[in-house]
Symmetry: none
Subunit: 218 residues, 2 copies
DNA sequence: AGGCTTGCTTAAGGTTGGCTTAAGGCCGCA
DNA sequence: TGCGGCCTTAAGCCAACCTTAAGCAAGCCT
């Protein structure tokens, strides 16, 4: 984890820098100019931004970052405690706003919140060979191209992908399609599987005779 | 946007509820029990959580939510101002911690931060192709020309834009329009969609059969 | 091998989800 | 009180989707 600390006050900067270094890698800069340079040349996981800087306003920089599409988490740390300042800072794109003086522990906790988001946000994306599934967006990809499937086939494939390489029983699949309601006595499942195979390629779904089906990774 | 407000104090709850309703759809509940029920039956975009509740501790509920893998943004709003409480709240999984009493404007700003992040860093201005939406002014633009939509269509389109390219389920949309009230058995949604398409162009809203709708970027 | 079972492949209805209209009711506003 | 938006209901229609059914291929037994 790598933080950029932008703080012009020598004492506070020193203290913060030392505090943060117990937990993260930190670059400390004392003006906007330096902040911009550092930011351009490294990838930070979060930025701690003071507002009253010698060579410009931190909020304006933040503004430009956001406009440029950068969404690195930013925590504003400022002595400006007016409501207006806080609201403006947050609305400009800051993720948090901490008013000086603050307790070190709280700063650390709030940094943890920002970093947690960043890492925990990874979209759960299942994949098997040239196939992938993004649960969040309900989207399948085949060779990285999004594909759409009819509802039933969609359900079936989702279950299979969830199971990874493990075989899934017919019952399980039927249940997925029709709920617990007594088993429909028909070959629908097979027909859907056929449809899937036609879409994905013949060998992506193996049949496990007498049991069910499984996805083959290769 | 849909918020769950968990606050047992009658006066404060009322005031907050009114405040928030100027900007979002809000459910206000007064204890954990009700919170759990509501949470199970609806999809909220964020939760405002008081800690001192009559039937248990809000932090514990938060804990269990996070353990269960839910990552709905949570803003703790509490009278407990001890450092320990704040750190514990944040470390348990809260995204922000606001100490009572607070300024309404700040609460709103912090809520905006949470919601902004949720939608993959939705700027104040969302856009998709020739379509744009300015959340602040509740204004849509088509080819950069401001357009006005009837209330229901406005809501639908707003939800779709928040979701970006992801499909949104019918249920989610119906909920947006009518709240939890048991499913209205009708085709209103489809009629509204039809209206939208007539306004925006036929292909801007794709239907995901058996599921819902999604905005198409191109 | 021969018979038996399980699963594959097709094409033809049947069903349903969603689209499109038009008409009626509600509400706010002049 | 009438007018104009807007929302809902209802009905007909189309296409996508699901199921059925029947014949065929491939495993699996004795």
């Amino acid at each position: 984890m790598f933080l950029l600390l932008v703080e012009d006050d020598l004492n506070l900067g020193n203290a913060l820098s030392r505090l943060l270094k117990q937990h993260y890698r930190v670059h400390w800069v004392r003006n906007l100019e330096a902040a911009k340079n550092h930011f351009a040349s490294a990838e930070y996981d979060a930025i701690l931004l003071d507002l009253g800087l010698p060579d410009g306003d931190g909020v304006e920089w933040l503004q430009s970052l956001r406009t440029a599409g950068c969404n690195t988490p930013v925590l504003i740390v400022s002595a400006r405690d007016a409501l207006d300042d806080r609201v403006k800072g947050l609305d400009t794109g800051a993720d948090d706003y901490l008013v000086k003086p603050f307790e070190p522990e709280e700063l650390l906790a709030r940094i943890r919140v920002l970093l947690r988001r960043k890492s925990g946000r990874a979209q759960p994306r299942l994949s098997a060979g040239n196939l992938a599934y993004e649960a969040e967006s309900r989207q399948f990809y085949l060779d990285d191209k999004p594909i759409t499937l009819p509802p039933k086939e969609h359900q079936i494939l989702a279950v299979l992908m969830q199971a990874g390489e493990k075989p899934v029983s017919r019952e399980r699949l039927m249940q997925q399609l029709y709920g617990l309601g007594d088993g429909v006595d028909s070959n629908t499942l097979e027909v859907h599987i056929y449809g899937l195979r036609k879409m994905l390629g013949k060998d992506r779904i193996e049949t496990v005779r007498g049991f069910g089906y499984r996805l083959s990774g290769a």
